[in-house]
Symmetry: C2
Subunit: 418 residues, 2 copies
Amino acid sequence: MMRALDLAEAVEAGDLTPSALVELCAEAIASQPFDIHAFAHLDLDGARTRAAHLQPKGGLYGLPVGVKDIIDTARMPTQFGSPLYKGYKPKADAPIVVMTEDADGILLGKTVTTEFAFLNPPPTLNPHDPAHTPGGSSSGSAAGVAAGLMPLAYGTQTGGSVIRPASFCGVAAIKPSYRLLPMTGVKPFAPLLDTLGVFGARVIDVAFGLAAVSGRALRVDGQDFGAPTFGVSRFAFAGAAESEAEAALTAAIRALEKAGAKVVEVDLPAVFAEAHAAHRIINNYEGAVSLSYEHRHGRDKLSPILRDLLDEGAAIPIEDYDEARGVAHRARKACFGVFEPIDALLTFSAPGGAPGVESTGNPQFNKLVTLLGLPAVNVPGYRSAEGLPVGVQVIAAFGEDHRALAAGAYLEAALAKS
Amino acid sequence: MMRALDLAEAVEAGDLTPSALVELCAEAIASQPFDIHAFAHLDLDGARTRAAHLQPKGGLYGLPVGVKDIIDTARMPTQFGSPLYKGYKPKADAPIVVMTEDADGILLGKTVTTEFAFLNPPPTLNPHDPAHTPGGSSSGSAAGVAAGLMPLAYGTQTGGSVIRPASFCGVAAIKPSYRLLPMTGVKPFAPLLDTLGVFGARVIDVAFGLAAVSGRALRVDGQDFGAPTFGVSRFAFAGAAESEAEAALTAAIRALEKAGAKVVEVDLPAVFAEAHAAHRIINNYEGAVSLSYEHRHGRDKLSPILRDLLDEGAAIPIEDYDEARGVAHRARKACFGVFEPIDALLTFSAPGGAPGVESTGNPQFNKLVTLLGLPAVNVPGYRSAEGLPVGVQVIAAFGEDHRALAAGAYLEAALAKS
């Protein structure tokens, strides 16, 4: 994989130019063992032109970045993974794209998204095994970073669309606190849930990327933040995990204890189970609202799984939706107590390794965290008996993105040593 | 003015057809004493075609509706009041537009907005006196309803863009609780603040319209909800009001007391003054983010007042923005105590009657309410010595939109009797 932090340091030191970096990506894309279909639109020419004129000083130092194809770009097609938007070119770049270029990042291309960031499997393949899904909906971003095609990429999470594909592909990722990154110009699915996130090789790379694009002091490399206290929960309300996910979690706990961190089992408040269930109401109701025009006027060009979801969402009584929002509000308030005695919560990223390509996997361990708006980091490192990556999820209190990243980096280092 | 509720009842009773209603609008538009420039795009033909085929059963019963021109419409240009979007046609209708048609409303046209819903005065005139502004940024919606060109119209409020023009134009309006209406497909300015609202002749008309489009039980006509308890505050942290605003507030208090309502002076928590100041940081920072593409690539086509705002917003340190969000969070929590002993808060809608056309007036008494996400109703009724309308603002706790509307309707009836 391409390590964003190391590459940026090489550019800063004058050992690497942005143009050379773009060529590294071009070569990696051209020499894939099999085409993972990471890109909905690749813009190597645009990237080369920009790299040639860039005197990188901004935080991204000329690093190429992949942009999930539900994020508006004025110079590249933005197709939302749907034939309804074939060839669509928005009038403006989304602010996250402008911020990327302001930070001297280079847009490499648009990465494959599932249709409107829902569940219909896209053509993207898991670089670890083409018989397996890379996960979704940020399929191309996770798979592309995992395959070493680019050092950083953006995704979005409404259910589990950042953490789950990161786990399946064996890359680090953060779904930051709700609204840490601006959602303007990102096709909405459920605005109360939709959150932009960042993929990279390691947690320190992801922290570097998020810090550079957001302008916040979020880097966690080169510093010792001490041993965090982790609370472990298996999110029983979300259903059972498979044995490989349990093994990954157990390996993480052992590595942490060996490294000297305190690990305690925690009981989550009862309202979290309610909130987990409320996610479905909010997701489906808001999805049917956000995509109401496409639902009314483009029905025959929607996948069956999305059409069914929109039909279901449109039938949810408004009272149920308002009640679900009330549950979410109560659950968010209950978070203060949860994180008072711990730095971070440790749980599954996904129910197991990547399933086959007929689905994008289950976001069951991500939905609550998205609804609560908490920062969550996927920490890679563990491999299943099949050789597939299985990550674990590190979660911190709202607004404590640095704490989530520091705890994630601590765990990643502990796993590497164990 | 056209009374939405009465017209809907006439359609339901079979005394009026949607086609006849559209012709009423067409005649009113054609026979204005002076052109108030309410419409950025008028679609009488589209409205006539739809009316001819409509068997109205949905809650809006064939009523024509004006749509502020920062709301996406696929069939009509959506120009955001900016030459940068001249002739722009979005790919999809915003959900609020789909919901309007689902409720059997008829789109009459796009109403004039200030440039990107900020402060640059548009060509729209106040129907009460063409030397005065109708207010902004929902200028065409407020003025058009006031001039009797249509029974209902949508606006948005980020600072005071619903309540202030309603006050200046002498119409009722509600800025509902944050997120009561979906913002997808509405050009963002400051997403933490942006809120869709509804204009109508009377508070009961506005409640009818909001209930019909949102599917919520928000009507307040034909029922007696009893005498509410009002808390009065003059929002001292927001600066002074002019004598005509004070006179309007005094008249409202007298009318309420005469009608038998309890009116008490209330002290607002100190954090509200901080939150009032924090609005500026959030508004300007997020404005610069939301319009970052236009700021970088269309600078020469922005008005000087917007360009200055975006320059200022882009220079706000991220720490200040994050701190302002923290203040907003604390102020929202403090609201529970404020509304515990009262049903509604009564204050100024605007600092006085409509100023001249060189500005759109000052949102000083609206910014805090927008930041807190509280439902606010403009209650018209008072006229200044100059003959200009001056409204008062009725505010309720978050999610208590029905209570705000009921209290507003109570006050409106009390004013009519006094």
